[in-house]
Amino acid sequence: MIILLPILLPLLAALPLGLLGSPRQGAIANAGLTALVFGLTLLVFWAPGAGLVRADRLGLIFGALTGFVGLTTALANIAYVRGAAPRLSVRRWRVYHAMCQVVLGSVLLGLYADNIGLLWAALEGATIAATLGVSLPRTPSALEAGWKYFILGGVGIGLALFGTMLVYLAAQPALGPGFGAMSFSALSAHAAHMDGTLLTLAFVFILFGYGTKAALVPLHGWLPDAYAEGPVPLTTMLSGLILNVALIAILRFRHLLQANFTAGGGAMAPGPFLLTLGLASILLTAFSLTRRRDARRFFGFSSIEQSGITAVAFGVGGAWAIFGGLLHMVLQTLIKSALFQGLIRAAELRGSTAPGHYGFSHLRGLFHANKYVAWGLGGCMFALTGLPPSGLFVSEFIIVSQTIQRAPWASLPLGLGLMLCAIAILRQFGPLLFGPAPPRTKPGATPMVTHLVALHLAIMVAIAFFMPPVVAHMLLGLTGRLQ
């Protein structure tokens, strides 16, 4: 079973990583393992597995994305560890690398699993690993962030489990007891015959459970702190990957509900729930971004916004909107990981990558320190706003236009929120890049990671604007089935 390899390899490798090696060796091993996993995620396209772990197209695509982002993050991580090694003990670094691998493996499990129980277990594993990772720096604020993450994440996990059991219960009339009632493919095939009322109840719990992982408002409480306090490369994984798994899980359950609703099975339409949470996320972010003085917290809020946009897209429904939402997830993952890599470089140029060194006032005037890093980071920031030539323009265009057509009432808050967020991000752009640099700033060398950032951005633009029609039609067919 090839499909088990990319999942088990990192999970098993976590043990030796957690017990052996210096930080530097750990980072290199981490990168090597991740490269292997990336290769495997590509290989899996030809062997999507069977039974409990059987990847569908969606899982495969996001699996490859996870592998790629994991790889670039791990590469950037080598440089990060080199600079940050003295800050933590060797044991902590070992735990840190082990947790990176656990997160990677659990995320892949979550994406590839066909079983709703496995999906849940995967997310739980990822949460625990990430909690440990976040609290590693052991400063009071890091502990606090980890504690928040644990409490809110734990509650979310509990709610998701309840939802999962309710889904199983709702599937009883159609599928009877046993593994069949927990398999996504079986559930989606028999969605119409499930108990609609129970399914709706289940969806509410799933939404609030996995919504906590996806950091939708009002379940977002853990995210900004976790972003700001944990080690940066781990934050990258958090921002892109765990959010993605949670959102895809929500998408899959939403599909069950929608199918049941369309077939007249007694379920409520999932749209209003998702739209409400999504719009709340976007609007709260819109008003929270301006006052942020710490760059990582700032981009943490931006992640909440992106989750909200995706949730709105899923809530709007229809093949195009879901396509837009998925495209948005892919692009935003690429941008965010590039952004955090750039942020590490920027902080390094200013002396330290420790948490607390990411204030905008500390980073400002990057252009005077290093032109390429500045443009890389600035490009990522600009890309987040959704103005062309950023790829997010395409996805946001699709989402907004679909919202207008399918849920007109939502378009006003959506447009307002997107607008305010974009303005808030652009407001930071000027000072960060071209503002007066703090005194005693020395121009720094151009690190290799800048190329990685550029690569991310190039891929992002290419995916959005140069998608071959064949691929686009294939994806639209996929989202049509998911609708």
């Binding site: 928040k148 409490i151 809110l152 509650v155 979310g156 709610l159 709706t200 109840l201 509410v204 719990f205 939404l207 609030f208 009002p218 379940l219 409480g221 900004p224 409520m268 729930f273 949470l277 709260l284 008003f287 929270s288 006052r291 396509f323 495209l327 600009f382 706003t385 103005l387 062309p388 030539p389 323009f393 395409v394 265009f397 907004v400 236009s401 207008i404 007109p408 378009s411 447009g415 307002l416 997107l418 607008m419 305010l420 974009a422 303005i423 652009l426 407001r427 752009f429 000027g430 000072p431 071209f434 959005a464 604007f465 140069f466 998608m467 071959p468 029609p469 691929v471 686009a472 994806l475």
Partner: protein, 547 residues
């Protein structure tokens, strides 16, 4: 395949987009000559405008429009970070209005959104106050293209949607809304142009005025078209489109010139200039020509559009009920006041900046402009000449556009014939020249200025005491006292800033404070948010399914 996944981009070239592309060309060349050739962002900016003009589907249109906004934002940011955020806000706001509008069913809501989106970008009141702050920020070439080209692209979108896409559903009151917005911009723009002392800000205010003039013309045409009066619609369109063409020539000219003034003297504040005509004769001559266009004086490029516009408004006053009649009468008064204010602004620009004595040493030592910008300005000035002297020809060239916008219209010939005026003027000049030559004493003698009988300035002030000269702000003081006090917000602030943007900003801050309170919640309170959300959802569920 480039563009929206699975759909791509579609381009189209018709008479309307061709017209706007043509007016884009000379100013792009001029801006490139003025020193923007090497800037990638500048070319992206131009490309955005071209794509927006050529776009045949909503995606391409918005893509080009926003690319243009984004690139120009970056250019503004590099010039001056302060107005950049405001500019970005307006750019995103127009997208936020336009994208929904393109997908709404044709109707009043769609048109109003289009009007908001394009009006914000084109600097129509009440969303104009950003323009005088943002347009002067980037290098002169970009300012030129922003004023001459970018607002035209916004108006192009307005025309395309108002007349073609939503044309079938148009109602007369759409035109009235456009006219009101235009009239307000005309009045505020011209008044502020009269009061501003910074050269580029002054020009940007004048841009607001011209955008308003174009909007008034379009409004008259839209109203007439909806009322089934193609002749009047054609007249209004002629006025608007001719204004588009003329403004696209003389405003970039003026902006590039202003940039050169700044380059030569280190300042573009009128109160620090003066007497530039001596040091920069060629630049000053070209600026004078541009100022004639800006002031809408006869034989200048700006007069024919103004002429057509006034005629269109007068003709429109004869249609509709008593309210419309009153409105158009008031509109004429507004246009009259503004025309005179624009004349005053142009006169002040020339009279304070280029005539008189230098007010600073930099102004006294200014050397003529660099050849590149000068060549660009000369190109624009050369193109101004046919527009000024033979506007009929330009209007003839526009006929396909007008027929495209108002099917069945037959544009009337122009009643204003500058060539005849030139001929008459020539005859008068001949006669006067003959009299002076035959009977008069020739020759002039250079003497110290009389200065109302005051004593000569000391030797260390070769140009006299600058403080004795009328200043730019002093020149505008009577107007500021007579009109400004009534039309502008307290403190001479722009009403759009004081009564639209500032309250919005306060509202925003209030909500931000609320959001901060949510952000500062303790863990327990955050948990309570989750819990409340869940309970609320369950309640909705229970009530929804139970009831």
């Amino acid at each position: 395949m480039v563009g929206l996944p699975g759909q791509g981009m579609h381009l189209r070239l018709d008479a309307l987009s061709a017209l706007f592309l043509i007016i884009l060309l000379p100013q792009t060349i001029a801006a490139a000559l003025s020193g923007m050739r090497g800037s990638l962002t500048f070319w992206v900016f131009v490309a955005g405008m071209v794509v927006a003009l050529l776009g045949a589907d909503a995606f391409t249109l918005i893509f080009g429009f926003e690319l243009m906004s984004a690139a120009s934002w970056l250019l503004v940011l590099r010039g001056d970070a302060k107005p950049a955020s405001l500019y970005a806000g307006i750019a995103v706001f127009s997208a936020a209005c336009l994208i929904p509008a393109l997908f709404l069913p044709a109707g009043a809501l769609a048109f109003m959104l289009i009007l908001l989106g394009t009006g914000a970008k084109a600097g129509l009141a009440p969303l104009h106050s950003w323009l005088p702050r943002a347009h002067p920020a980037p290098p002169a070439g970009v300012s030129a293209l922003m004023s001459g080209g970018m607002i035209k692209v916004a108006l192009y979108v307005l025309i395309r949607y108002g007349f073609i896409v939503l044309g079938a559903k148009a109602a007369p009151w759409w035109g009235m809304v456009l006219i009101v917005a235009g009239a307000a911009s005309v009045l505020i723009g011209s008044l502020r142009a009269m009061l501003e002392t910074e050269l580029k800000t002054l020009l940007a205010c004048s841009t607001v005025e011209h955008a308003g003039l174009i909007a008034v013309g379009l409004g008259v045409a839209l109203r007439a078209k909806a009322m089934g009066d193609p002749a009047l619609a054609a007249l209004g369109l002629q006025a608007a489109l001719l204004c588009v063409v003329a403004h696209a020539l003389f405003k970039p000219l003026l902006f590039i010139g202003a940039g050169e003034v700044k380059h030569a003297t280190g300042t573009s504040g009128l109160n620090w200039l003066g007497g530039l005509l001596r040091g920069m004769p060629r630049l000053s001559g070209l600026m004078l020509l541009g100022a004639v266009g800006m002031a809408a004086l006869p034989l200048g490029p700006g007069f024919a559009p103004e002429f057509l516009l006034l005629h269109a408004v007068i003709a429109a006053a004869a249609t509709g009920g008593i309210l419309a009649h009153l409105a158009f009468t008031a509109l004429l008064a507004v246009l009259g006041v503004s025309a005179a204010l624009a004349l005053g602004a142009a006169v002040r620009l020339v009279g304070i900046g280029f005539l008189g004595r230098p007010r600073t040493l930099q102004a006294a030592a200014a050397e003529d402009a660099r050849p590149g910008p000068l060549a660009g300005m000369a190109l624009l000035a050369g193109l101004c000449v046919p527009v000024a002297l033979w506007p009929g020809l330009v209007l003839w060239g526009m006929n396909p556009v007008i027929r495209l916008l108002v099917p069945g219209a037959s544009p009337a010939p122009l009643a204003y014939a500058p060539l005849i005026l030139v001929l008459l003027g020539g005859l008068v000049a001949l006669a006067a020249g003959f009299v002076l030559h035959r009977f008069g004493v020739r020759g002039t003698r250079e003497v110290p200025a009389w200065m109302g009988g005051f004593g000569r300035p000391p030797a260390w002030l070769p140009f006299g005491d600058p403080m004795t000269q009328p200043s730019a702000s002093g020149f505008a003081a009577p107007v500021a006292r007579a009109i400004g006090a009534g039309l502008l917000a307290p403190g001479g602030m722009d009403p759009g800033q004081a009564w639209v943007l500032a309250p919005l900003q306060r509202l925003y801050l209030r909500i931000v404070r609320l959001a901060e309170r949510i952000r500062r919640a303790t863990i327990r309170e955050r948990l309570a948010f989750v819990f409340m959300g869940l309970v609320l959802a369950l309640l909705v569920l229970g009530l929804g399914e139970g009831g």
